[in-house]
């Protein structure tokens, strides 16, 4: 399997890009130290001559210079390069935790529904249907404050970590159903197979059947789904920030950069380009990796 993956050059290339992104996220403080700037200082406000009276970068291309590699943010005048670098951290962290949670819940519910069958399966099936019918984006925007109010009263501080936790929670709430439905289907077919029958006849406990017999056969779809889920969650988080319910200042965040970018694009298109291109590369790399993982696991599949 590993050999098959290694032969797939796209897979290797996209894996390198993905690892690069992860390294950048981990090493963000080091990069920032080497580069000599941080994502929080308001360079444009502290140094005259960088922003004009309207708050836009004076230098062409969004203020790109040897000093500011990717330019400076309009109005506040922060450094775009470090914002992007630190932004990967935010996006990846939220997406990663959500992916793990979503996958875990999806696995548990999918297996329970598929394995137990009958009434349990029917009820879970209905719940999955309902969750999938929810207009999730709208719902998340409307109930972000509600979820936060469960933890803090409206006149108290909303800590940054809480916003991240809330984002993870709501994204998980609407994310698990798809995977659960898929796994339920898989389990349903596996259940009828001879080796499960055999295990049952020999008196294996349900726990043994699930962990020793079912799960090993489910790893492939789970891994594929998880690799595809991560980029989808990164874009979902960015979309929520774009709609104004994402991470709060001053935590660097790609989605918020988009939001600002779409506001100022007529005067400073460069500020939109950097997060935009970075996100596209990131998502393409991850999707390609997902494809390659699938190919590596399942060589029968025709490309």
């Amino acid at each position: 399997m590993w050999l098959r993956f290694r032969r797939d050059r796209t897979g290797v290339a996209s894996a390198i890009v993905v690892i690069f992104f992860i390294l950048v996220a981990i090493l963000a403080p080091v990069i920032s130290w080497l580069y000599g700037k941080d994502p929080y200082t308001l360079y444009g406000q502290d140094t005259p001559g960088l922003l004009n009276d309207f708050g836009y970068p004076i230098a062409p291309n969004g203020g790109i210079s040897s000093e500011f590699w990717f330019g400076i943010e309009p109005n506040l005048g922060r450094d775009v390069f470090t914002q992007l670098v630190y932004g990967i951290r935010t996006s990846l962290l939220i997406a990663l935790i959500t992916t793990i949670l979503t996958t875990l819940i999806g696995i548990v519910i999918g297996i329970v529904a598929g394995y137990s069958g009958g009434k349990t399966d029917y009820v879970i099936g209905r719940v999955i249907d309902t969750v999938l019918s929810f207009p999730s984006v709208l719902f998340i925007i409307a109930f972000m404050p509600v979820v936060e109010n469960l933890f803090v009263s409206p006149d108290q501080e909303t800590p940054v970590w809480l916003r991240a936790v809330t984002l993870v929670l709501v994204l998980t709430l609407f994310g698990w159903a798809g995977l659960a439905r898929l796994l339920r289907g898989q389990v349903l077919t596996l259940r009828e197979r001879e080796f499960i029958e055999a295990a049952r006849v020999t008196g294996a406990s349900p726990a043994r059947i699930v962990f020793k017999e079912l799960l090993p056969n489910l790893w492939t779809p789970i891994l594929i789904q998880a690799t595809l889920l991560l980029p989808a969650l990164v874009t979902s988080e960015a979309a929520l920030s774009f709609l104004g319910v994402g991470m709060i200042e001053p935590i660097p965040d790609w989605g918020r950069m988009f939001r600002r970018g779409t506001e100022v694009y007529q005067n400073d298109i460069t500020y939109l380009i950097f997060p935009g291109v970075a996100l596209v590369i990131f998502v393409i790399a991850f999707n390609l990796l997902g494809d390659s993982v699938r190919d590596a696991f399942d060589p029968k599949l025709k490309r």
């Binding site: 019918s133 207009p135 984006v137 509600v146 469960l150 709609l243 694009y265 935009g276 596209v280």
Partner: protein, 326 residues
């Protein structure tokens, strides 16, 4: 067939009721008092009580929900505010009008946006998918695969804004997106929505190309297709009569999901292009704490998803007689 549709419809009604209940009960955790909003700046306690009574907020939660559901069938009368004829989805205290009126007013835009985009991405996606499948491994296939890969990774707010910058703002190739009813001027209608259609199509086409290609490849290697070929049937007819028919099922499935989502309010698309459709309406309802409006837009969106799911199921049966209505 009739029994099948009835059963699916009943199931859908149950799903919608559950969604309605979830939404409704969650509202009361929202930190905003509808009566307080309806009452205004100077609001002595007696008046607040009165407003609460008029809006039916002094009833137990469960009764309020039943009243809301009943309103859909028999209408409701809001004392001192106005009448809301059946089907009454609620009464907005921000607009001081039945929410359905406002929703129906915004619906044509969202429907136009969806249908127009669907036509573009469906034609493009299926056509490129078929071509790619028939020319497996050739240049055309590669181009189609690559562009679909990129297209699927693009975001509306990114591509849309870039398109606005280059096509509208800088070069004036297309018009600033706007909505003119088709009944008023069909040309302006199409021109005004052209940009959102194209951008939506760029993003959605990818999926259709991919799915069409892979299903088509599968279909072409099916026994019945090979048999037809062996019997000397023309390539063109084989593709059109057999392979395409099998592919349609996949297409219909994803189309159903996409249409359901889009009709329910293309929030990000409308936000990016500044169009006043259902999506914007719902966002506005969130920011202004207009709970009845929000409730109604959630229901319209959920309704669209559910209805299209039924349509997909029915179409399944029509396209492929092998799918038994079980």
């Amino acid at each position: 067939m009739f029994r099948f549709i009835t059963r699916r419809t009943l199931g859908a009604v149950v799903t919608l009721l559950i969604i309605a209940a979830c939404t409704f009960f969650l509202f009361f955790a929202v930190p905003a008092d509808p009566a307080r909003l309806a009452c205004g700046k100077v609001c002595p306690p007696e008046l607040l009580e009165q407003a609460r009574h008029n809006l039916g907020l002094d009833q137990p939660l469960f009764v309020q929900f039943l009243t809301w559901v009943a309103g859909i069938f028999v209408g409701r009368d809001y004392e001192g505010l106005g009448n809301c004829a059946a089907p009454c989805l609620g009464f907005s205290f921000v607009n001081k009008a039945p929410v359905l009126d406002t929703i129906l007013d915004r619906m044509p835009l969202t429907v136009s946006l969806t249908i127009g985009a669907a036509i573009v991405f469906l034609l493009f996606g299926v056509a490129t998918g078929i071509v790619a499948a028939l020319r497996q491994g050739k240049a055309l296939d590669k181009i189609a695969s690559v562009s679909s890969l990129i297209g699927a990774s693009l975001q509306i707010y990114f591509v849309g804004t870039l398109a606005l910058y280059f096509l509208v703002y800088h070069n004036h190739i297309l018009r600033q997106p706007s909505y003119v009813p088709i009944t008023e001027n069909p040309l302006d209608w199409a021109m005004g929505l052209m940009l959102p259609w194209v951008v939506l199509a760029i993003i959605f086409t990818a999926n259709y190309t991919r799915m069409t290609r892979s299903t088509m490849v599968e279909q072409l290697s099916e026994d019945y297709v090979r048999t037809a070929r062996a019997k000397g049937m023309q390539n063109r007819s084989v593709v059109m009569r057999f392979a395409l028919r099998g592919t349609l099922i996949t297409i219909v499935t994803i189309l159903g999901v996409d249409l359901g989502t889009l009709i329910g309010g293309a929030i990000i698309t409308e936000q990016t292009f500044g169009l006043q459709g259902i999506g914007q309406l719902s966002i506005r309802a969130v920011w202004s704490s207009d709970l009845p409006m929000l409730m109604a837009t959630v229901m319209v969106a959920a309704g669209a998803i559910v209805v299209f799911n039924i349509i997909v199921d029915v179409l399944y049966a029509v396209i492929d007689p092998r799918v038994r209505l079980s």
